[in-house]
Structure formats: structure tokens, C-alpha cells
Symmetry: C2
Subunit: 250 residues, 2 copies
Amino acid sequence: MQQSPVPPETPIYRRIADGLREAILSGEFRDGDRLPGENALMAQHGIARATARQALSVLINEGLAVPKRGSGVYVRQFRPLRRHGSRRLSQERWGRGQAIWDSDTRGRPYTVDEMQIDREEAEEEIARVLDSAQVWVRRRRYSVDGRPVQLAVSYFPAALVEGTAVVREDTGPGGVYARLGDLGHAPAHFTEELRARMPHPHETVLLDLPAGTPVLVIMRTAYTANGVPVEVNEMILDSASYVLQYDFDA
Amino acid sequence: MQQSPVPPETPIYRRIADGLREAILSGEFRDGDRLPGENALMAQHGIARATARQALSVLINEGLAVPKRGSGVYVRQFRPLRRHGSRRLSQERWGRGQAIWDSDTRGRPYTVDEMQIDREEAEEEIARVLDSAQVWVRRRRYSVDGRPVQLAVSYFPAALVEGTAVVREDTGPGGVYARLGDLGHAPAHFTEELRARMPHPHETVLLDLPAGTPVLVIMRTAYTANGVPVEVNEMILDSASYVLQYDFDA
């Protein structure tokens, strides 16, 4: 919605990419549509194959399109999950034994895998926030509609959760927050810190990210009503799979 | 903080990039430090110049490093602004005539340029949200410490703000929200929708973004106490310049 002044010396592959981008952003091409291929662009614009390829790679690098081997370049499928920052973590929800993820996916099937639960020495920042040198760590990956969308690593002060359901694979109805509640440490306040960056290589692999797709990094700290930090959760989200929503008052 | 398994067939440039990345993420190299150059990498690892260049370009593409012409590759400076979603827009603030940006920058000097104020026919989505076919549009760019960090485009229902200070360059103390308040339409609730993606070309130019830097896109709608939408603000943020913070209760 910003203005897009195109200087006259723009190279031809850029101008073709600009035209295709316009068509994608305006909805002329829709999610999953096949874009004109190299041959079509060559014929239409009288250009070399390398130029046509360059034009398409601009859109791929911007994350607007994905190549499928041997079949062409397609408008990136984007059916994002709406992650509602404040509403999804209401006590009413996990207090009733509901999984937080049911709120995000609204009926779309999701799975959790790559689960790892370990007792570890905390990294400096985590140790500082949780005021605990030893932590229990829950690592897992979430997939929706069969596609990996999020990596999450939760850290808990070791002394707080030792021997409880928080460190078991199946945490029971309402998950870890309900269990922290059972222990008298129910989360009451949350702080989320949010960044975006390009993925590191292992994130690209685990989230199966196409080129040109950044990740959203959310670091959430959960505090009890007394202000005691009981969890740090570092989440890595495929940015193409998410819209994050936060509501607040003036 | 995720695990990073490196398969044995990893090419040499990847392994060198992995080592440099580790050194950056662990703090061994700090913001603004010069990374080992092509010659140093060639000597250290017994590799060709092209391989050394490839290793460095991995880090540049991930946004962890920036090349400076003729002088080498440096760890990306990152002194982010903390944008506090809920606190910065409190009525107490703009009601006292304070600029919202004073909250974000905490004394660091900021400037606004590229200001454009126009009356326009609204795009479909904006028209739908504001329930108004005609809108006044305020476009501007914010820079902090002389570096552009954010593009913002605010839309107001034309009938609501016609002939008021909202459509003047200088909106006075407290800015547009204070002026909407004067008109009896003070914002009371906000919804922010947040995405990350790679920048479009004009955003790369206006925000002077190095390669491998995604943007955060925030679409905020302001509602009066009666639920009347009075502004849509679409913000494009340099992701390397921002940490967004949201606080909320369980």
C-alpha cells in the first residue's frame, strides 16, 4: 500500500518481476496458481531464458512464489493460522482442560512430534529470567494440516517441576499451565517479545521452509500472580503460516 | 536454542559459515566486529576464494552480517528499539500531549520524513474495515539515530476528519489520537495484526535494508469506546531494528 516508484533504468527482469508481483498482490493470480513459466515469459517479452529465470527468482526470494520441481513456479499457498496473543492463553481455557493449540487451529488437525524432555544447565539468559541455574526443557515441533509450522522450547525452573507431570510426555488435560496451577504456580501474566529474522539452517530443515521465508521468534515469559517467573517458551514460527493478533485498550 | 545436527556431507562453505554463525550467536564476535575476510578464511581453511566468499554470503543472507564496500564483512549492528504494544498507546500518554514515538525511542533522536497527506478512494480491505469508500491517508517514514526504521500509512474515514488537524502536516501535541479525541472519537481499543515477510523492492529502498532482512508488517485498527473504527495504520518495520513486546494476563 506504499507507493512504488520505478526508476526508468530498472532492468528488464525487475520490470517483469514487478508486473508479476502486482498481479499476485492484486489477487489476479491466487494462492496456488501457476505463474507463467520461463518459455511463456521468453515469448511474451522477447527475452533470454536466463532473464526469465531471474524474474521468477525475484518472486521466489521474496517468498511470494515457490518452485515445484519439474512443474513450474506457483503462487505461495498462504492459509495462515491466526494466533490470538491474549485470548488463547486465558486461564478459562486451560483451566477447563483445553489445549492452547485448539484455539490456534480451530479444528484443523495438528500434530506434535520431535518431542524431547531433558534436565539441563540453563543458558545465561534463561537462567537470569527464571532465576534458576538448572532447568527442565521441553522441545517439540507443531504441524498443522501435515505441514510443520512451529518449533517450541519451554524452560522451567528445575526445582519447581521436578518429578511432576510437567516433565512427562503427556501432561494431561490443559497441558503444562494446568499442571503448574495444580502445583500452586498458575501463570497469571505473560510477556511476549517478538522478532523476525531469516531462519538458521536447522530451522529451515525442521520447518521445511522454502527460500525467502523469514521466521517469527517469540520469547514468552509466564509469571504467577505474585510475579514469579515459571516458564520461558521460545517459539520459532514459519512466518508464512501465521498472522499474530494482539488486542489491547488505550 | 534448538539442536543443530550437521549431517556429515555438509559442504565446506556451509561448515565454515556454521562456525562463524556459532561465534556470532555465542557473542564471541560482537555487534559491529569485523569477521575474518576472504584471505583469512582461505589461509585458515585451505580453500579457494569462491568458497570463502560463499561462506560469508551465507551469513549475509541470514542477516547476521553486512558487507561494507572495500572494507570487509561485519557483524550486523543490532541495537533494537523496544516497541511496547500495549503501553505505548495508553490514553494517559497522548492525552498528556506526548508523542507515541517518544515511548519507543526513549530519548534517541528520531525524525519523520517522506510525509504525504492525500484524500483517496480506499482499497477494498481498508474500505471494508473503516466502512468508508473515501479516506484521508497519511504516509510517512520514521528514522532513529539517522537510520530509517519504519514506514507507516494511516487511513481515516474521510467524512470523520475532513478539514481537521488530522489531515494537516502538524497535528499538534499528542498527534492524531489526541485530535480524534477532540472530535469526540478517541481511540479506546486497538487490534494489531502482525506478519513477517521479505521486503518488496520499494521497501528495501526506503528502509535501506541490507540483503536477508525481513520486514515486520503490523496492521493496526483503532476503535472508539463504541466500537467505531477510526483509523487503520499499516506499518512496515525493519525487523533488525525492532523487538516488539506485548504484555497480557491469563
